[in-house]
């Protein structure tokens, strides 16, 4: 899951990036409204962590701008003020949730997963496809009753495929979701992850749609 962090404080920005990375997210971080605007234009994000007071403007204005232009990406606000009015203003401007500073990293991750899940139209946290079950919060995958050990990237690929079950997911989308800006992507990185996944879950689990991308095999539903 790729997350954009818009926060101008370098220590907090670094903390959220590293922390969310440890929780299985891929995080990009920017520190201004302008950079936030540019980032969401060029890259797909599953959710945004947005600070309210930024050096070149208010996070709320950026949020309103997104909502006005029809962007529905889930947004979680970082508020310093514990005032109810501030939170109401944030939610009214189109935010999906908020946490007050200082916050707990685990809570931030949980809330992010929740707003992403809601945005994907799923009620429960667990994603099920055939005999596969994936728990995003605990980063665990079960095939039948047996748990399958996956790396962080493999988990990311499987999560994306399962959350869009049956649909084709382009290779570039997978790359975008797995790697942040700072990370170098090997040209065959996604193929390697898919190869490992097939090895662990069964060859027929993931189908290759030549020249387009990948999708979960219908046969898995039984």
């Amino acid at each position: 899951m790729r997350i954009l962090i818009v926060e101008d404080d370098s220590i907090l920005q670094d903390g959220i990036s590293v922390g969310l990375g440890m929780a299985g997210f891929t995080a990009d971080a920017v520190s201004t409204v302008e950079d936030g605007r540019l980032a969401t234009c060029s890259t797909f994000y599953d959710a945004v962590v947005l600070d309210l007071m930024l050096p070149d403007g208010s996070g709320l204005d950026l949020l309103r701008e997104w909502r006005k232009s029809g962007k529905t990406l889930p947004v979680l606000l970082l508020t310093a003020r514990d005032q109810v009015a501030q939170r109401i203003a944030g939610l009214d401007a189109g935010a999906d949730d908020y946490v007050g500073k200082p916050f707990d990293l685990d809570e931030l991750a949980a809330r992010l997963r929740a707003i992403i899940r809601r945005a994907e139209g799923r009620g429960s946290g667990e994603i099920v496809w055939g005999d596969l079950a994936l728990d995003p919060a605990r980063m665990r995958v079960f095939k039948g009753d047996e748990e399958v050990e996956l790396t962080r990237r493999e988990f990311g690929v499987l999560r994306l495929l399962m959350s869009r079950a049956g649909a084709i997911v382009e290779k570039s989308t997978l790359e975008d979701a797995l790697y942040g800006w700072q990370e170098e992507v090997e040209s065959n990185a996604v193929e390697v992850h898919v190869h490992h996944l097939r090895h662990k879950l069964g060859r027929q689990t993931i189908e290759t749609v030549r020249g387009v991308g990948y999708r979960l095999a219908q046969r898995a539903v039984q």
Binding site: I11, L12, G15, I16, M22, F103
Partner: protein
């Protein structure tokens, strides 16, 4: 008496009373004159009438004390009017029955007054040489006085009866006239502290418009001040909680991560975060101290260079860390200035800190003490990038951070300087130097005491000031 209403009522009643009193006095005076005139002419006409009747009817006299035919047809004023007819030799020929036995007047024609038996009589006398008599007609002066008193009483009585009515009317009109004041007081006293809405300015009497306008302007200023306070609190909360959130997040990372490298980096970030929070808290406290300082501590006589040295000493570590020195340039001898040294040291520290933060390594920050228009100034210059026009215009806004402010910058430094200078009564000017970099100038420091004779002699000499150059604290 500190009530407009009571004052107005008393003043109005006193004024009405005074006008009335003056009117009564005037009436009394003119009534007196008129009555005198009328009664005098009555005396004169009566005397002439008696005299001409005597000439027509012949001199048939009643004996003295008897009833003369002339006086038989009783006239309206007979009880008041008295007539005597005397021969020129001084024998009483005839008189009205209410006449005194003594002569009302002598042989002189015209008006005269004479006291008879303790009563004053006024009379008019006509001498008729053909008949050899004189006719005197008179009345008592007391009668005149009574008449005037009656007229005045007639005037005064209704006025006195009307006085309470007039007083009541004055009270009612004054109360009615002061109603808008009471209404305004009610409107204000019924409010709670958060209601700073302006009072309605329409339908206010012209006399109340200036205070209402002034009050509304005050309410607006209070509202603005409260708005600033609110936004300051909001900013302060954001600025304090953000580094706290950073520290907490990094601490969680350090606890959770098994990777030694990540842990060490997180711990280093925590240290940075604590340093920055400490810096911010110190600046917030400085600002609060300036805001409440005012005239708590009086001015002391001090040399500006001493304060610069103290401020630069405070920043010795930063000078070493950034590889930038502070260079002081002051005239010799340097005059003492009268100022609050604590606030000024605070201001200088923030300016020098900013200059150190933006200066390239190996360069120097200059602090120059000088004099202009008889007042001392300090100018701090750096070789940094300077500020854009937009940054200059909001440089002193609280929590405003320019793009070169660095990660330590809280956006409060120049706010502190501005607040301190406002309290000290000096001026702060910030501008880009033509050769690049920023100049921050604090000016308007009054010199302590007047210049002595020696100082004057020195000042008159056309000698270039000797500069004292020193690198401080590094």
């Amino acid at each position: 008496m500190n009530s407009i209403r009571a004052r107005l009522i008393v003043a109005l009643i006193a004024a009405v009373g005074a006008v009335w009193g003056a009117g009564v006095l005037w009436s009394y005076h003119s009534t007196q004159i008129q009555i005198e005139k009328v009664l005098d002419s009555r005396l004169m006409e009566s005397a002439r009438m008696v005299s001409s009747m005597m000439a027509e009817r012949g001199t048939t006299f009643a004996p003295p004390g008897g009833q003369s035919p002339i006086f038989q047809d009783g006239q309206g004023y007979s009880r008041q009017l008295t007539c005597q007819i005397w021969t020129l030799e001084g024998t009483l020929v005839s008189s009205s029955d209410n006449a005194p036995p003594q002569a009302l007047a002598g042989n002189m024609e015209g008006f005269s007054e004479r006291e008879i038996d303790g009563e004053l009589w006024r009379s008019y006398t006509i001498v008729n040489p053909d008949l050899g008599i004189r006719v005197s007609v008179g009345d008592k002066v007391d009668f005149r006085t009574d008449l005037i008193a009656d007229v005045i009483k007639g005037l005064l009585l209704p006025l006195l009866l009307m006085m309470p009515v007039i007083g009541g009317l004055i009270w009612w009109f004054v109360s009615k006239g002061l109603m808008p004041l009471n209404k305004m007081a009610d409107a204000l006293s019924g409010r709670d502290a958060s209601n700073l809405q302006p009072l309605p300015a329409t339908g206010v009497p012209a006399e109340l418009a200036p205070p209402v306008t002034a009050l509304n302007a005050l309410l607006e200023r209070v509202e603005q001040a409260r708005g600033r306070e609110r936004s300051f609190t909001a900013y302060a909360a954001h600025e304090l909680k953000t580094p706290l959130a950073g520290v907490k997040t990094q601490a969680q990372i350090a606890l959770a991560s098994g990777d030694e490298q990540i842990r060490e980096k997180a711990l280093a970030q925590i240290l940075r975060g604590v340093d920055r929070t400490d810096h911010l808290v110190r600046q917030l406290l400085d600002l609060a101290r300036i805001d409440t300082a005012g005239a708590d501590t009086g001015p002391t006589a001090i040399r500006l260079s001493e304060l610069i040295i103290e401020a630069a000493d405070d920043l010795a570590f930063m000078q070493t860390q950034r590889g930038v020195r502070v260079v002081l340039e002051a005239p010799e001898p340097e005059p003492l200035v009268s100022t609050n040294s604590e606030l000024l040291r605070l201001a200088l520290r923030n300016i020098i800190e900013n200059a150190l933060a933006v200066s390239p390594r190996g360069h120097a920050v200059s602090a120059i003490v000088g004099e202009k228009d008889g007042q001392a100034y300090v100018s701090v210059t750096d070789d940094g990038p300077g500020m854009s026009a937009q940054e200059l215009s909001s440089a002193t806004a609280r929590f405003y951070r320019g793009k070169n402010s660095g990660e330590r910058g809280s956006g409060l430094g120049l706010s502190i300087v501005e607040a301190a200078m406002a309290t000290l009564g000096g001026t702060l000017s910030i501008g880009n130097r033509p050769q690049g970099g920023l100049e921050v100038r604090l000016a308007g420091f009054r010199k302590a005491g007047g210049p002595g004779p020696e100082a004057k002699a020195l000042a008159d000499e056309p000698v270039a000031p000797t500069a004292q150059l020193a690198a401080i604290g590094s």
